[in-house]
Symmetry: none
Subunit: 215 residues, 4 copies
């Protein structure tokens, strides 16, 4: 791997600062976590977006959340075709090995992936329709969600689609047989959240009203 380069100095400095402070002050706990393994209470599926930090929002300690981050927090439907499925693998590990008690999907405002899906579905982004576009093919997962919001006024459509990303993922999660079994046995609960990154808002899906409501 001849292309690897040294880490930028500012990150080296920050790491040394962290080692001398945060690590030093918590070393006993970090060592125990290393020796005894993790036992996270929840899996969180969040977006790669640099503006969404669920550990900060929830004051999470090392060891609390098993976190998968991908574009738009999407989960594809169950498809055991023998190919590489990173999201499905993460979900499988959390449910069947770690046996997490909660599966939390977190969408957010101004999501670039959702915007791309919207543009693609409205014919404004032909490049995303190419077979070779990984982003486009990934956002295909959200197409059923687009169908449900396409008739909304344009001003509301994008935000609605961000929330549909959460719902489509929750629906797809239920297509995994061992996950459905865990949910139906009361061993795991599903949660759908949407984060307003500018205003620090947090809404959760309420099946009673069929809406996202502020928590």
């Amino acid at each position: 791997m001849e292309h690897a380069k040294p880490l930028p100095t500012y990150l080296v400095h920050r790491y040394h600062g962290w080692k001398a402070t945060t690590w030093a002050e918590n070393s006993a706990w970090y060592r125990r976590l290393a020796a005894e393994g993790q036992r996270p209470r929840a899996m969180v599926i969040s977006c790669c977006d640099s503006r969404v930090h669920v550990t900060s929002i929830f004051g999470a300690d090392q060891g609390e959340f098993f976190i998968h981050r991908n574009i738009a927090s999407l989960v594809p439907p169950h498809n055991p075709d023998g190919e590489h499925h990173g999201t499905s693998a993460a979900v499988e590990y959390a449910v069947t090995t770690l046996k997490v008690a909660h599966m939390i999907v977190v969408g957010h405002s101004y999501c670039g992936g959702v915007q791309g899906c919207h543009d693609m579905c409205t014919g404004q982004a032909p490049a995303l329709e190419e077979k070779t576009s990984f982003v486009g093919r990934w956002m295909d997962i959200l197409r059923p969600g687009f169908e449900r919001v396409k008739d909304l006024p344009e001003a509301e459509r994008l935000r609605a689609l961000e929330k549909e990303a959460v719902l489509v993922s929750l629906e797809n999660l239920m297509t995994f047989p061992w996950l459905r079994t865990a949910v139906e046995a009361g061993e795991m609960t599903l949660h759908g959240l949407w984060n307003d990154i500018g205003e620090g808002g947090l809404e959760q899906y309420d099946p009673g009203s069929g809406k996202f409501v502020p928590i």
Copy 2:
């Protein structure tokens, strides 16, 4: 989505605490990030493991890192077959849309995914060899790495395989044509790290020696 449940109360309380402090103190920046979009300097590919927090290790601010987390921080080879590829989509978005300056792959000690790959490749985990095992099929990505460490003494093999996961990912990254172009044009640099979660250690791959060395 009738299965969604309310968020556990302790997380609701912690969120409200975060909103009243961290968000309130940083609202101007969060609003700008929302209005103007993200402009992260680096993409980080890290593990879902609850014990690895790169934002903590690098003191990362909101907006600094575009973060993808999957099992064992793996990147599959370029394969534009029109299927859903979450990792490839995240990498594509970071390189072609966000134009990040650094691509950082972070492996770690006691990785459950790497352990699974090891057990599978040594015949000790038949369940992971099933076509229906998402974790097994995902860890297939690391098989070329296993081939390179299989003759090591058992005591060294697992740790070596954790580091191979980083190298295999860096190698696979270079199979993406637009990423190779960016690297060769000097527009992006690759970095391979390995984190000792118990001791808070951090090593980086050094192409000169062909080894991971402490930073």
Copy 3:
């Protein structure tokens, strides 16, 4: 005290969040409680176990319960020998100074202390029999309870012993003369509870049947 260290950062953040929300919203009441003193209605004697939160189970407000927590919720017999008796001091303060109306002892399932007592009394834990074992000497309080359950089938014995811990404590409470006086004068009532931590069950001792019955 040169060994004191700074509090882990995640707790500092959570505290600031609490201060900005829970405290801010309740400051008038907290200030009155500070200025006028506490006036709790009940004393609760519960276990140190991290899985038992009586304030949560009973929706208890600041100021409602005077809470003593020790291993296995045990109360030793009255023994005014001039030595340090932390539990007896807490009971004395609650009864003679605070004049609480209820004294509630709460046992629970999977209690490590009760398990230790069981193992010690059946000869399986010689370390706990050492004079220097504080846990062993503390669990000696429960030996009369073990005598009452020792002939039960092994499958029932541990659970029965958890409940005996509550009864032994209630019996020992009645050996404190000022407490007996209060009970006999109708100024205070005793209550024995057992909490099933996994199932969220709560049983109370019923003197009529001599059994714990679900509430």
Copy 4:
């Protein structure tokens, strides 16, 4: 135990409410904690006072803190005389069995136990000097702390004594050989806090300045 009475109805109602909501929403996690045992990161030694709720202040989840509560958060010195020592037993269990990473002692303002110690040491509370006073004999533990503050102006003395209670406990903790070993090996850290219950303040002991400073 013929004296046990039924639980007051308002607590029965609250319990059923908790069971139907908090327990129901968290049952998967509570069942796992029951099945797999606790693994708390920290032990907290706090006061019985009804106005001090550390789980609220720190947003603690079920399973996070092993909590001992006694009058004035005191720890007696190591004294393996074969008698019942509830506080020492709790500390022993936390350090040697649970292997907690942090030992946090929390004092607070307007502590009735500390007030009693002050009055006793200044000759204003003869009843507390009786051999039969459990509160008096328990507060004897704080006498070395009183010696250090007795020459302060009266207006400052009580508050200083509340903080001395924390320091005396930390000092006494270090007299337990296995605890000292754990601290010196870097396997556990000690922390001293003082909570202003009216103002919601939190200070921690800083060995550098020898003072409690706001966090």
